[in-house]
Amino acid sequence: MKFGKRGSILLCIATAVLLTTSACSGGLLGGGGNGGDSTGDSGPIKLGMVIPISGSSAPTGAYMKNGAQLAVDEINKAGGVLGRQLELDVEDEACDAQQSVAGANKAVSNGVVISVGGYCSGATLPEIPIFQKANIPMIIPAANSQDLVNQGAKNVFMINGTGKQQSTAALAFIKKQKFATVALVDDNTSYSKDINTETKSQIEADGAVKVVLSTSVTAGESDYSSVVRDIMGAKPALVYWTGYYQEGGLIINQLKNAGFAGQIMVADGSVDPSLAQIAGAGADGVYATMTQTPDTLKGAEDWIASYKKAFNSDPGPYSTQSYDAVRLAAEAIKQAKSTDGAAIITALEAIDGFQMFSGPLKFTAEHTLSSGGFVILVIKDGKFSLEDDLS
């Protein structure tokens, strides 16, 4: 690459400047297919859903996709919204920031008018500016880090309880059961750490209960003897595990094997049938903070049946939230009588009493649920069932 043509550099820079200016003016040459086509009045209304399809969170992504698809099918059967059909545009994020940004951009390019995805908080965060710039509201069904709304983006709505609300629920249950000492363990992911720190500060502010241990483990390992040692040393009445089920199962098992006599509670990321399988015999009696799942809801049998009929499998974590996200999106579009982002946002802010699995919906000023809808589940015979609805 000898420095041959000095002129060609100038030429290239000139071209670049030229192109840049033309780029700013919108669709570059020939007005290429920039986003926003479907804001027109014809064709289906597209809903973007950026969720993990590959990677270690892929199973949850599948539950979410099915839940959303179920809602889309039902609404379409009932005539759609504003006389138009709905269409789901699913993009993979693999729980990775770079892929989620690509996925979000792809959704924007495909002309979605609203986003109903978002599972991994760390991957959902960088999507916000992209959707914001494209004037696309986001209804986030699963990701629940407080950071999502802390940036104050107007287009972000969370319909899963936040870490804060989950912590409040945990504290309420802890006080109700009169656990005197608590150990908090997270897996060093943003979701998990969020709940840990939030619970800790709430418990300390409350003052009735004592946090005897707050620690992190590294996800993806097999041997958690060091945290087991710490817990055995601290002798808490309750261990609250805020991470995911893979490690949760191992820690429950290793704690029980070490003869831990106290109770164990897990956060919603660990609410998965595999938890009990991995944890083995010790899993029975483990509590969980979780929003209502179809399994635990009274009167959800019909819904479960139609889910089973459509996908030939049981619904899983976040199926309901994704289902509700799509229904909520449809409702907001109906109220706004438009697919314009700003109108939908106004409509979402105005919604009051919209019935969801977690109860009637109303957004707070920061666009989170006014009530988290968290309940306490317990494992019986390897299955989660409702223990306490905290009402």
């Binding site: 690459m1 000898k2 041959g4 043509k5 060609s8 290239c12 820079i13 071209t15 670049a16 192109l19 840049t20 033309s22 780029a23 700013c24 669709g27 570059l28 040459l29 020939g30 290429g32 297919g33 920039n34 986003g35 399809i53 590959s54 892929a58 993009e91 993979d92 693999a94 729980c95 990775d96 920031a97 770079q98 940004v101 690509a102 951009n105 792809k106 924007v108 390019s109 495909n110 908080s121 760390g122 991957a123 965060l125 960088p126 916000i128 500016p129 992209i130 494209a134 880090s145 950071d147 940036q151 060093n188 992911t189 943003s190 998990s192 750490k193 969020d194 992190s216 590294t218």
Partner: protein, 346 residues
């Protein structure tokens, strides 16, 4: 790598004849042609998605060219290269956010931090053989990521988000996707050119000498440890700039972006493209970063395919698809004055 027409008396038998295609590929203008294509593509397709994918690919090219300095030129197998990008991205993100500065002003700090990182990672590894080196760099990569995950200044596991853009003057915002793409492409092109030129300088030769035979290089007065450190430092700075672009592009930095897999992907780009040949590496990087996007639905299998590809390429073509050819022009100018057999006693 550029070839002139051979006008010497030297025998040509040792040099494979160049086919028209390979002549095109060896052409001096190839770099400019590639740049022109990169600059023209948005004219045809400019959706946010395509711009995003192409920007990501361009950043990946920058990383690969930086790793090529370390692995391709100097022969130091680095399995933790992404750590340098992490250092750059975090430095830029933390400073830009703390002082609400456009990212462009964090460049000096990023250079300082990445040079330091290069020294810290480089210094203890200088005495190590290649396989130990690989493990130690991997260890450093993991240490960097876990540390970023555990510290609060780096935002812990959620990382840093809401990072300001590169630069904004009035209505002119470099963060506009199309503008940002052009900025990225030009920055990356400059760095690729710089790396290619370094490769053909005194320092670049010293790197190759060290790669080929450390003892012989020492015997020629080359301080192998200084030369290796230089390779690390340059690699680190390249990675750091990749980090700035990464932070600007995603507006968020989190530890999950710097896992071992990412280091391995950059290494694959270098190896598949052809270690030591900047052009091959650029192609390799484009393939590695664009292919998965093209095969988005097959994402479960992509690492399996990559793994098998690595083995197959190494077994059948250990030098990569487009390796450095190792030829240069014979004597230019006064070919008549050979002084060949001068002083030979017969």
């Amino acid at each position: 790598m550029s070839e002139n027409v051979d006008t010497t008396l030297a025998p040509r038998t040792t040099r494979p004849p160049a086919s028209p295609i390979s002549r095109l590929f060896e052409s001096k203008q190839l770099g400019w042609i590639a740049l022109a294509i990169a600059l023209l593509i948005p004219l045809l397709i400019a959706t946010p998605y395509s711009l995003n994918v192409m920007t990501t690919a361009a950043i990946f090219v920058l990383l690969a060219s930086g790793l090529n300095i370390v692995v391709g030129y100097c022969g130091l197998l680095d399995l933790g290269y992404i750590a340098f990008m992490a250092v750059g991205a975090y430095t830029a993100g933390i400073i830009a956010k703390a002082f609400d500065l456009p990212l462009i002003f964090t460049i000096p700090a990023v250079i300082i931090m990445t040079v330091l990182a290069g020294l810290i990672i480089g210094a203890p590894t200088l005495r190590l053989r290649s396989d130990y080196l690989a493990i130690v760099t991997l260890g450093f990569g993991e240490i960097t990521r876990i540390t970023a995950n555990n510290l609060s200044i780096t935002g812990g596991p959620s990382g840093i988000f809401g990072i300001p853009g590169l630069l904004k003057i009035g209505d002119f915002d470099l963060q506009e996707p199309a503008v940002f793409y052009y900025v990225t492409v030009l920055v990356v092109a400059a760095f690729v050119l710089a790396a290619a030129r370094l490769g053909k300088s005194r320092l670049g030769r010293a790197w190759r000498f060290v790669r080929e035979d450390e003892d012989a290089a020492e015997a020629m007065g080359i301080h192998t440890y200084k030369v290796k450190l230089m390779a690390y430092i340059f690699g680190a700075v390249w990675g750091g700039f990749g980090g700035i672009l990464f932070a600007a592009h995603l507006s968020a930095v989190s530890p999950q972006s710097f896992v071992f897999l990412q280091s391995a992907l950059v290494l694959m780009a270098v190896v598949l493209g052809g270690m030591g040949n900047m052009r091959g590496v650029v192609i390799g990087a484009l393939v590695i970063s664009l292919l998965p996007e093209l095969l988005r639905d097959l994402s479960t299998y992509r690492y399996l395919v990559f793994g098998l590809l690595l083995v197959v390429v190494m077994v059948f073509r250990p030098q990569g698809f487009w390796p450095a050819r190792g030829y240069e022009p014979e004597r230019m100018g006064d070919v008549s004055d050979r002084r060949l057999a001068k002083g030979t006693v017969r």
